[in-house]
């Protein structure tokens, strides 16, 4: 999801280096998704491969957190979202790298290395924009305030996850909150930005209840394999 959203910056980055950086990160995220969906397809054992899971599921079958499907917004919004998500991903991958499932542990250990670069990239931009001009400060603060209500969902756990946690296969998402909050607070403060206050937290992604943006995004993301089934090049 987020890899696709970042790929929308291709040719639209504020400077050439950022165009390249955002699409490189998109490539990492799509690569990680490909590996995870491949592992999921093996577990499902129903004849679907990673491509089928990515391109042939409808909106309600997606289980992603809402924060990653939101439109890319302006550059400040993209940076703020990338920062909040990357710090979460860092701790999720780190914990998952000790999974009892060898494939998951290996995928996580690899993704963790990539995510360190993503965290540094977005954190440095958050500081640059937050501690920049009045305009950049205002925009990135607005983005943080807007995004905050989508962060709670990242740390919700459910019965499926808890069953996997018992088998030492998955990570209890709620256990990641303290480390995430610590890191996020630290960088937001260095960026001279204000931590958003307590707000009502949106949820729904895990049960397939998405924002109106996901359907529009999937229409574009899935048009080719749905129009030309089995297309290869």
């Amino acid at each position: 999801m987020l890899g696709h959203r970042l790929s929308e910056w291709c040719g639209h980055g504020p400077i050439l280096e950022e165009d390249i950086a955002l699409t490189n990160i998109a490539l990492d995220l799509v690569g990680e998704a490909n590996l995870l969906l491949g592992r999921a397809a093996t577990a499902e054992n129903a004849g679907r491969d990673a491509d089928a899971l990515a391109f042939l599921r409808d909106v309600r079958e997606y289980r992603n957190a809402l924060i990653v499907e939101l439109p890319k917004g302006d550059f400040g919004f993209t940076v703020a979202r990338q920062f909040l998500f990357s710090v979460y991903a860092l701790h999720q991958w780190e914990a998952l790298s000790t999974s009892a499932d060898d494939d998951l542990a290996g995928i996580a250990a690899k993704a963790l290395k990539e995510t360190r670069y993503h965290v540094r990239h977005s954190a440095e931009w958050l500081v640059r924009l937050g501690d920049g001009t009045d305009e950049s400060h205002g925009r990135v603060q607005d983005a943080l305030d807007e995004l905050w209500r989508f962060t709670g969902e990242l740390f919700l756990t459910d019965d499926v996850e808890q069953a996997l946690v018992k088998q030492k296969l998955a990570v209890d998402s709620s256990s990641l909150f303290d480390a995430w909050k610590r890191d996020v607070t630290d960088v937001i403060s260095r960026a001279t930005l204000r931590m958003p206050g307590d707000v009502y937290m949106q949820r729904g992604g895990r049960s397939g209840m998405h924002t109106e943006h996901l359907g529009v995004m999937l229409a574009e993301m899935q048009v080719l394999p749905r129009t030309y089934p089995g297309a290869k090049w």
């Binding site: 590996l35 542990a105 290996g106 250990a109």
Partner: protein, 160 residues
């Protein structure tokens, strides 16, 4: 046919995006397995989304086939995760001669590290008076730098 002879063949297969390094020097060939006459090359990907991996697999099989080893296969493993620390020093020198600064030690990062390590040395003039432009470059594995001494932009094979 033994592991050494297969590795010697694989050492002729170059990374399509960094053609100065072989797949062996890159450290992505983890093992060679034999089961009777069947050869399996055990490979680990560089970056999760590296678009060159399919080409590398095809090139490996083509090279083995050309050397008379038919019906070989490639098996992908994820553990341990690839690191640039596996690139030997001779291969690092090849990178430098090719105009790409070799990777530093991958090290251990604090969770949110904003400051980078010491400046990267320019592969053209050897000056440490360089500035990082971006940690993301023309491929997943490279970063962009600029040398203030010889006023040349250059790439770095980034440590991971």
């Amino acid at each position: 046919m033994n592991k050494e002879s297969v590795l010697a063949i694989l050492d002729t297969v170059k990374d399509p995006e960094v053609p100065v390094l072989s797949v062996v020097e890159l450290g992505i060939v983890r093992d060679v397995e034999f089961d009777g006459d069947a050869v399996t090359v055990v490979l680990t990907p560089t970056y999760s989304g590296c678009p060159a991996m399919q080409t590398i697999e095809d090139d490996i099989l083509a090279a083995l086939n050309a050397a008379g080893i038919a019906g070989a296969s490639v098996r992908t493993v994820f553990t341990p995760a690839w690191t640039t620390d596996w690139i030997p020093s001779a291969a690092r020198e090849k990178l430098r001669a090719y105009g790409i600064a070799p990777p530093g030690h991958s090290g251990v990062h604090s969770p949110v590290q904003l400051r980078r390590r010491e400046p990267v040395v320019c592969p053209f003039c050897g000056s440490p008076n360089t500035a990082e432009r971006s940690e993301f470059g023309s491929t997943a594995c490279k970063a962009l730098h600029y040398c203030n001494a010889c006023t040349q932009p250059f790439e770095e094979f980034k440590a991971i």
